[in-house]
Amino acid sequence: MTLLALTGGPLWYASRAGGTLTLILLTATVALGIASGGRAVPRGVGRFEIGLLHRNLSLLTLVFLAVHVVTAVLDPFVHLGWAVAVVPFGASYRPLWLGLGTAALDLLLAVLVTSALRRRLGVRRWKAVHWLAYAAWPLALFHSAGTGTDTRLPLQLWLYAGCLGAVVAAVWWRLAKAGPGRVPGRLVAAVAATAVPVVLGAFLATGPLQPGWAQRAAATTVLLGGGR
């Protein structure tokens, strides 16, 4: 286990560390975004401070995401090529699980671009794209669990649990503080917040935590994507 984790050069370490940090930062950004989207705010904290923190955390997320992607592509251990960074499910290495990460990256890029242009797009179009960020988070999480070299480390498992807990808690807090109305939207949020931990737990138990995951992950291709 430990031996396996220590193989590989410095780029591999940088990529793993960058990915893990990205996941933590993305989780913080998403949790903050969910929690502050409603009207309720804890006393003693400015709304604008939460807004700025959300924005700065998201930019920092992208910085570490860039480190994660660049180091992974440059690393000679897996020959990925630059196209993999933006075209999902085309990788030679664990195509499905790496593809999820690429998809999350694309979604986050869309969110970044629309946020930069939000004044020109108008609030409706901007918010419509911003919802994609909610999808990027579980994608990143499953990418991390499915591809991650460190998935089987207890510390890493605790980290996943923490990320899940933060986002689920943010959803429940927002739902608890929300006023009446918008029942369908709130039902969807509640169901999604329940489903993601359950599915991830089941996936970890049956997938990465079982022996032989490396072979199975490598063999998993996407039917429509056509892994090499």
């Binding site: 709304r47 604008f48 901007w126």
Partner: protein, 70 residues
């Protein structure tokens, strides 16, 4: 300095999040439901940066600063 700027709130879009009043209390107050009250539409030169920050911070993009007088 250059031409004056005036604040405008899109009242339909505004949901009373209140960030504008935190960032620009000189010109914007909140009513008892948290919706902004414009104390003065015209942005004085000394508050121009703060006004720009308040406009950028609005999560609903409901605060605008238009060129020209009201």
């Amino acid at each position: 300095m250059s031409r004056p700027r005036t604040l405008r709130i899109d009242r339909i879009t505004c949901t009373g999040q209140g960030l504008c009043a935190e960032l620009l209390p000189e010109l914007i107050a909140l009513d008892e439901w948290g919706y902004p009250v414009l104390k003065d539409r015209t942005v004085p030169d000394r508050l121009r940066t703060h006004a720009r920050r308040a406009v950028a911070a609005c999560p609903r993009l409901a605060l605008h600063s238009d060129r020209g007088r009201p």
